[in-house]
């Protein structure tokens, strides 16, 4: 028995070794360097490797960092909410209402055939001052002057990101809907549930894991997005990643950039854990 276990464990280790090595070299090691940098300082082009908390005290006491972190989390939260809320009906449709599942899944991935930058620029064309939206509204006489609130603000950032991340929300929710045993739904109907009750008390709780997965997949990367706010965020839509990018670029202050990155990671981690606890709790309660 012991030998089997031993060899099983051995197999396990052998199987996971390539992945562990890969993750170790390309995730853990850079993360270690990042942590090390955050305790150093830089003046002009020289890195001073004396241990110091200076970057942390600077970042923690700076209202700008707090402001940008909160704004980033709020924007990412809005993106997550919008994306998941819009993705759920589509996933539901594919899982329950159509026979051509493969075709629909293919259609959903089509945006990924083009570069993300191109998609951001397409939104600029649509939302721009003399863009598709404004031109259309002016030509049908709804507005006289082009609307300026469409582009260069937080709204534009949320809209662009929500579009870009939609497939990442649809697929996990679709999988969790697909897994639902159809006889459970029949049983609910037999026991007197109407369609709404059946959805709320059976379907929705069973898809909570899919919803949580979608939320995390979207929330975590969008907090750190910097291309989208840089291109469509204008003067009000900057996020924390833009500040981090400045530290690694123009400001040439890698240690402070490393500190800000770690702070962003920790904040995201805390928010994500709280969310998972809350969502699992809620999922249990409705059931």
């Amino acid at each position: 028995m012991a030998t089997i276990l031993k060899s099983e464990a051995g197999k396990g280790i052998a199987l996971s070794a390539p992945a562990s090595l890969y993750v170790g070299l390309l995730v853990a090691a850079p993360l270690g360097i990042l942590v090390a940098y955050s305790f150093w300082t830089q003046t002009y082009v020289e890195i001073d490797r004396t241990f110091t908390w200076a970057n942390y005290s600077e970042a923690v006491n700076d209202p700008l960092v707090r402001h940008l972190l909160i704004r980033s989390i709020a924007i990412a939260g809005a993106v997550t909410f919008a994306t998941v809320a819009l993705a759920y009906p589509i996933a539901y449709f594919i899982a329950f209402r159509t026979q051509k599942k493969a075709l629909w899944l293919l259609l959903i991935t089509i945006p990924f055939w083009s570069s993300y930058l191109l998609r951001v620029f397409s939104w600029k064309l649509i939302l721009g001052f003399n863009g598709v939206m404004n031109s259309a509204l002016i030509s049908i006489g709804v507005i006289q002057e082009p609307l300026t609130f469409l582009l260069y603000n937080e709204f534009a950032v949320v809209l662009t990101l929500a579009h870009a991340w939609a497939p990442f929300a649809i697929l996990p929710i679709y999988v969790s809907l697909q897994k639902i045993d159809r006889s459970l739904l029949e049983a609910a109907t037999d026991l007197g549930c109407n369609r709404l009750e059946r959805f709320i008390r059976v379907t929705l709780p069973l898809t909570v894991p899919g919803i949580i997965a979608s939320c995390l997949i979207i929330f975590i990367p969008t907090v750190g997005d910097y291309v989208t706010p840089a291109l469509v965020g204008g003067s009000q839509g900057k996020m924390v990643a833009n500040l981090i990018q400045v530290q690694f670029g123009a400001a040439n202050n890698w240690p402070l950039g490393a500190t800000l990155s770690l702070m962003a990671m920790v904040s995201v981690g805390i928010v994500a854990i709280l969310f998972v606890l809350l969502a699992t709790g809620l999922g249990r309660r409705i059931r």
């Binding site: 721009g128 003399n130 003067s235 670029g249 400001a251 040439n252």
Partner: protein, 352 residues
Amino acid sequence: MKLKTSTILGALAITGLATSALADAADLQVFDWSGYEDPGFFGAYVEKYGGPPSYTYFGSQEEAFTKLQSGFEADLAHPCSDAVRKWVAADLLQPIDTSKLTNWDKLLPQIKEVDGITIDGTTYMVPFEWGNTGLIYRTDMISGDDISLQLLADPAYQGKIAIPDAASSAYALAALATGVSSYTDMSDEEFQKASDFLRAIHPNVRFYWSDAGQLDQALASGEVEMGWGWNQSELNLIWNETPAVMMRDVNKGIATWVCGYVHLKSSKQPVEQVYDMLNALTSEASGKYIIESWGYAHSNADAFKSADQELIETYGFADVDSFFEGSLFFDAVKPELEAKMLKEFERIKAGF
């Protein structure tokens, strides 16, 4: 492997010429902004080596600096004068031997004195092209009499202006608008005044532009009515037949930038080949070409005589001397001041 890669690159760059000559020409590595691989800029080099050098591109000087510092190797690079002090401090550059430059004496004398071209008597950069950064405005929306840098702060222009997402350029604008004596060495009080100016115009800023095309398009559509930008934007607007010009009055405030080529320490090619390239770049023919086809000013004084005078007038370089006397130069800002600018600019952009 290296030889093979460069041969392929060379073959890609110009097909149809003898392979032996190609390898030679393409062995020279130039680290440049995209677009500068235009063979019109270095005709003499192509003639001598039978092909162009190999190009690698960067999008911003900061990106280039980071890449070079982490070990990227090339023979020549193309920063602007304000970056040179930092690059020298990071030990990236070799001094330029001006005796090997056949066109050195023909270069505009004032340009050779720009900080960064020469530092403490040592020349580090061969100036290539220069131009202005200034206030570009729509002449059909704002009259030439009313235009001024202070107009940027006018509440009537809410959401109607754009300035660069670059601290140094924004502070140059603020320094000119608030009448600071020295942009590179502001006193605390002057720095405060300049920051206050940027804060005052923040509510009017539609966006902080990060690529010039964004500014061009917004000015062309009328989304913004004035913007702080490069002469390249003005040219694009002229070619697009948009009624827009750059405010070129040195008394109202305009800045001048100079960019050029530096000899990197990581250079592996023979010095002769490197200087052949530098000489080709600074020749009168290249200057005439860049002035006429690109609308940029060149460092070679003779190029201004041989280029089409009407075009020079249109592109705003008729009175070269006035820029050198009256405009603000993008010199290297003192490192401490630069750090302060960057920090404060981030706060201003976030509305603090």
